[in-house]
Amino acid sequence: MKDNIKELNLENELPPEESAAIDRLLSDFAEAENSEVDYASMLASIKAKARKENISVFPAAGKKRGTARRVLTGVGAAAAVFVVGLAAFAVIRALPFPGMNGKTAAGDIISQSDKVIETEQPSGNNVLPDPGKTNSGEKTGNNDSSSPAEPANTAEPVNSEDVSEILPTMFPVKGGLAGFVKLTRFTAAPSCSAQLVPDLLPEFMELKLGEAGIFASAYGTDENVEYSYSCGVIDEADTELDVGVARFIETNGNCLNYLWRVNEELYLEVNFQGFSREAAEELLLSIALCDLEGLPYTPAPTEEAA
């Protein structure tokens, strides 16, 4: 994993005039490279494809706002019903239990030590603390750890790439994160404008949602201790993980780093500052999706479904 400390420790900055020269060089280079891309031809191809797929784009006839309409075929309708059914099923699974704010999904317990998933019920030897307890010690309500756990094969995230897959599906692992933990498969479906937010953030932490992207961060101070949560994408991970699995990586000072493989290609580095391992992992397991306004995220119905 990249060493963020080293990364930020920049010795010998480039002199301003040299930096400006490189800036100009890159700007000119980008412009020259862009001039070789035939954007007009690509647009023509896109419109031709759209016509083939019966999608009409008609901004030109007076009204400036463009609209895409898709002809609803019998197959399309059937697919839409299936997708909505899956989404509804996932939403039902993610429905809040008393005291929850609705962002956390099922709390099925699965042990996944050395990539072997067990199908046991949650038990007293789960090293995770009381999942309803925040770092500040307050009960907030949480995953339904008292509900019967489902067998692993039924709890596996859906493998297709429909919208239901972006709903959170979390599996607290028996034995904590010393080994692996199955979190969720996140495919960043095109319709997704959700961000990753722990459900159990202590009240003193202020959530900050970015303008775009799936990422969010939170900061706060309690009794002179600074707490933070953030996550970021990394391009290459030294540790190979199964999709949907997160793992504790290291401690930098009072900052805990976790690696989470969210889909085939994307790894996230999740950082917690100020928290104990137990509290951080509790938060990690409670990460759910919210929309850009911070509300629990529910995929919009497809046009066909509407």
Binding site: K2, L10, L14, I46, A50, K64
Partner: protein
């Protein structure tokens, strides 16, 4: 909330989509395919796009483009593995030696240095110069702070300067 038609979206963001995909694929022909696919997705998603701010749309497009390129690359590599002998993998910059020769030395050198740079430094440079994203937009898209983006860009420029000097390529300081 901004009103947008498809042509305007294409005009404003085709560069962003293209270079986000190119960063992953390093091949112009493949990048064009992926760019077209991404804009087909846009066409299918006009209703979801409508309420997005410009910054949100940029972030969404960037993510969709990178994911589409990664998917394309994964499928491509499987096909290459099954259909072609080892060594037939895509060229680093999608350019043939003939193409390279036609370019002037500086441009070829800049491309080589950029392609050879660690992704952590190359990515923000490509997003900034090619995709025309602001530092804030890059930070949001990558899930890092603005300071981190600036640091990585400075570091990237420094690497560029050092490697160009090592190649004997001058640039006006």
């Amino acid at each position: 909330m901004p009103e947008r038609d498809f042509d305007t979206i294409y005009e404003n963001y085709s560069r962003l989509v293209y270079w986000a995909a190119y960063r992953v694929l390093s091949d112009r022909e493949q990048t064009e395919d992926v760019t077209q696919n991404v804009f087909m997705t846009v066409l299918h998603s006009m209703d979801q796009i409508a309420p997005m701010s410009d910054a949100q749309l940029k972030g969404w497009l960037y993510r969709v483009s990178v994911n589409a390129a990664l998917d394309f690359k994964r499928r491509q590599s499987k096909e290459v593995l099954s259909d072609e002998p080892v060594g037939a993998e895509v060229a680093d910059a999608g350019a043939t030696p003939e193409d390279e020769a036609a370019l002037n030395d500086t441009r070829a050198a800049v491309r080589e240095v950029l392609n050879g740079m660690d992704d952590i430094y190359r990515e923000p440079l490509v997003m900034y110069y090619f995709s025309e994203m602001s530092v804030l937009e890059i930070a949001d898209a990558l899930g890092v702070s603005e300071g981190t983006v600036k640091s990585r860009m400075n570091r990237g420029r420094k690497i560029m300067a050092q490697r160009l000097r090592a190649k004997g390529i001058g640039y006006e300081g």
